[in-house]
């Protein structure tokens, strides 16, 4: 019977190597642009000294969308994410070319205060990093330094509101003055999300926010991302294909610094247009 099966098959494919496909790639496939962008990047190149980490990336990030950046380690997705709120400014050898716009304004203009930019474009990191302060003070820190409140009642409201939005209020309302570092990993990450939304950002950048968490804490973060989308624009870097598929509306695939393909998440995970995307999400990179 197997012979009959083999007879039916015709194994004559001549496949190109990943390097060949990558070298031939010149233009992002799919829909890198959208109608209502909150942020736009135009022909962005990023260099670390003489090494180019990002090549000519043009990508729109739509209002109130969750866009997932995926790709193998070293593909530049975190570097790209960090450009979006000028976190790379702290790296001396990092040079950025091209335009990065927030509501049409170039965020790399000399007149742009990076601290104010980071209040508008917040960030949540892979490892929860609460301040060594109380839960209350972790949340209150940002509003205080940005002068968002004039009295204690307003600050109390912001703390409660942020913790409610981060889905943490019920778990911590009776111990607001205990150390934030005493919470579990998942709670600490939600505390960091609450801290970032306390300053009312417009965009939240998340760099593998659930990679250090167990499946239950991960599910809570994913639910939270879905809830936050109503009020914020979210850019998430993740190594979990399933997570990208679950939480995002659009997905962008990076490979060795090039933006290979951008598309509707449903389409990317069922019918990607580029061979490299297909190979990556199906686990064919050996």
């Amino acid at each position: 019977m197997l012979n009959m099966v083999d007879e039916r098959k015709m194994e004559t494919r001549n496949e190109k190597s990943i390097t060949e496909i990558y070298t031939e790639h010149t233009k992002t496939v799919g829909q890198p642009f959208c109608e209502n962008p909150k942020m736009q990047t135009k022909n962005v190149d990023v260099f670390y000294a003489n090494n180019q980490a990002i090549f000519n990336v043009s990508l729109d990030i739509g209002v109130n969308e969750v866009i997932a950046l995926i790709g193998p380690s070293g593909c530049g997705k975190s570097t790209f994410l960090r450009c979006l709120n000028r976190m790379n400014d702290t790296i001396d050898i990092c040079k950025i070319k091209g335009e990065l716009l927030l509501d049409g304004q170039n965020i790399y203009n000399k007149s742009q205060d990076p601290v104010l930019l980071r209040a508008r474009v917040g960030m949540v990191f892979q490892k929860p990093n609460p301040f060594p302060k109380s839960i209350y003070d972790n949340i209150a820190y940002g509003p205080r330094i940005h002068g968002l409140t004039t009295n204690k009642a307003e600050l109390d409201f912001i703390v409660e509101d942020s913790l409610v939005k981060a889905g943490l209020w019920d778990e911590v309302k009776d111990r607001l003055y205990e150390a934030g570092t005493g919470l579990s990993g998942g709670q600490q990450q939600r505390l960091c999300i609450a801290r970032s939304i306390a300053v009312q950002p417009e965009v939240i950048l998340m760099d593998e926010p659930a990679s250090a968490l167990d499946p239950i804490a991960t599910a809570k973060i994913e639910q939270l991302i879905n809830d936050l989308r109503k009020n914020f624009t979210i850019v998430i870097v993740t190594h979990s294909m399933q997570q990208a598929a679950r939480v995002s509306q659009r997905t962008a695939y990076f490979h060795l610094g090039k933006l290979i393909e951008v598309g509707d998440t449903n389409q990317i995970f069922t019918n990607p247009q580029h061979q490299l995307t297909e190979k990556y999400i199906t686990g064919r990179f050996g």
């Binding site: 019977m1 009959m4 099966v5 039916r8 015709m10 294909m241 069922t270 686990g283 064919r284």
Partner: protein
């Protein structure tokens, strides 16, 4: 999309699992194809023994469907397949349903032949059904080749060729109805012949479904319920 290759995963075990269900699917296809050939042979040659074999063997095809379904479920649970892998699993799950039904139709043809053989019935219309069966068998065989070779162009050709099956069936059916009006004593036998023809027509439809899943697998486009000429224009030009 010539880059559909299910043997290039980082995990060799995953390669083997996907290859395994592809082989099982093609084995099941081969079994069903033989069932149809034997059912027709039994009908045309009046071979009661062979017709009984066909009916019995249908149980094996049913078991095969359950086995492949189970393997697909395991792969979904363990691997969470995406893109072409996901489309392969979906195409397999759907194709085996159609193959199982083709098996059922072959068994129905065998049962019709058992009745006709028991009545020692003969008439000119057997040869008409033979012609219809030739087109149906050829389409099924070509669709299974296309499935093995992931050949969307061939699948489309076979799907379009189902019109020939429908036309041939209409002709046979019309002739049988006319024949009934003049042979009232043989109505029970002619009805059995008509059922066999209807089973062949249904096998043609199931074959078309399989072709649609091949196109979905290879092109990533769900073309069900679409005009085949529009599909040709949009996805094959």
């Amino acid at each position: 999309m010539s880059y559909l290759d299910f043997n290039k995963h980082t995990s060799n075990e995953y390669n083997e699992e996907l290859e395994d269900i592809r082989n099982l699917l093609l084995n099941m296809g081969g079994m069903v194809e033989k069932q149809l050939q034997k059912a027709m042979q039994a009908l045309l040659q009046g071979n009661i023994k062979l017709s009984k074999k066909v009916v019995k063997k249908d149980l094996g095809i049913n078991a095969m469907e359950v086995k492949i379904d189970e393997e697909c479920t395991q792969i979904i649970a363990k691997r969470q397949p995406a893109a072409s892998d996901l489309r392969l699993i979906i195409a397999v799950i759907k194709s085996i349903t159609d193959l199982e039904r083709i098996g059922d139709e072959a068994a129905k043809i065998a049962k019709c032949s058992q009745y006709l053989i028991s009545k020692k019935y003969e008439c000119d219309y057997f040869s008409e059904i033979e012609k219809l069966a030739a087109v149906v068998e050829s389409n099924l065989s070509l669709s299974l080749n296309a499935l093995a070779r992931l050949d969307a162009d061939e699948a489309l050709k076979v799907a379009i060729n189902d019109m020939t099956v429908d036309t041939e069936f209409e002709r046979v059916n019309k002739n049988l109805i006319n024949y009934m009006s003049t042979n009232h004593n043989d109505l029970d036998k002619i009805v059995r012949l008509s059922w066999a023809a209807k089973s062949l027509e249904k096998i043609g439809d199931h074959t078309t479904n399989i072709c649609e899943y091949i196109i979905y697998l290879v092109k990533g486009k769900d073309i069900r319920h679409m005009d085949l000429n529009v599909i040709k224009e949009e996805y094959f030009s």
